[in-house]
Symmetry: C2
Subunit: 146 residues, 2 copies
């Protein structure tokens, strides 16, 4: 948490105040964030400093290009989110009622062979989202609609 060791940032990239702040926000995030969310958090972190939203977009694009962050689109509503590339990937279960996103503890595809399904297609990655109802909302629904 208070791990303040130097960040190993990509060669040839200026490590500006703005980039440091965006990086720090991403580092502390526990889930993927939209550009605007990141912008707000950066403003909070760097109180008083001037900031442009477009700069955040450009920083995120630059980070993505260097493989520092990955950009993602949530299938449910098309929200675009960014997160630090920590290796590995996460899938989510999305509640259709309260829109909470619950990270799956593991990837179901660890246990499945995809070869036959895809014919001549060479699979290098995948995205998966589950939809349904979380425990709270299911209980609520059962109470209101018998």
């Amino acid at each position: 948490m208070n791990d303040k060791r130097e960040i190993r940032y990509p060669e040839g990239m200026k490590w500006t105040r703005q980039r440091k702040n965006v990086y720090e926000v991403l580092q502390e995030a526990t889930e993927p964030l939209s550009a605007v969310q990141i912008y707000r958090l950066v403003e909070e972190l760097a109180e008083g400093e001037e900031y442009a939203l477009s700069t955040v977009y450009r920083i995120l694009a630059a980070f993505e290009e260097r493989g520092l962050v990955s950009k993602d689109t949530w299938m449910g509503d098309g929200t675009v989110v960014y997160e630090l590339n920590r290796g590995g990937h996460t899938h989510y279960a999305v509640c259709l009622e309260c829109h909470k996103r619950i990270a799956l503890p593991s990837c179901p595809f660890a246990h499945i062979r995809l070869g036959r399904e895809t014919g001549d297609f060479t699979v290098t990655g995948h995205k998966l989202e589950l939809y349904g109802y979380c425990r709270e909302c299911k209980a609520e629904k059962e109470r209101t609609e018998p």
Copy 2:
């Protein structure tokens, strides 16, 4: 194909010229289409007739509300597409090179139990996209980069 029997449209919905046209375009589509694509195809179909793009959006929203069509966001690039609800669902393999979308012949989840993974979450649906390279692009890549 030349199946012109009456459409069974939802009660309480006015079946206007515009809605008929949008419906017909969706019916003839072999893959999900964006609102703008639908708009263009409707213009083509109903040559000469006046049309507003906003009407297409409103029609699609109305259709979705009645469960006639389903709206979807492609994970790769966030494109929003619509297709007729024909029951069942399709997954796609997306080529990272040429961006072709290849429909999978079956759903990999037919063979997998999701229960344990999701704890207290009740799964009612899911979305999946595979990423990789189609045969043509793979061959091309192997030729250019040894």
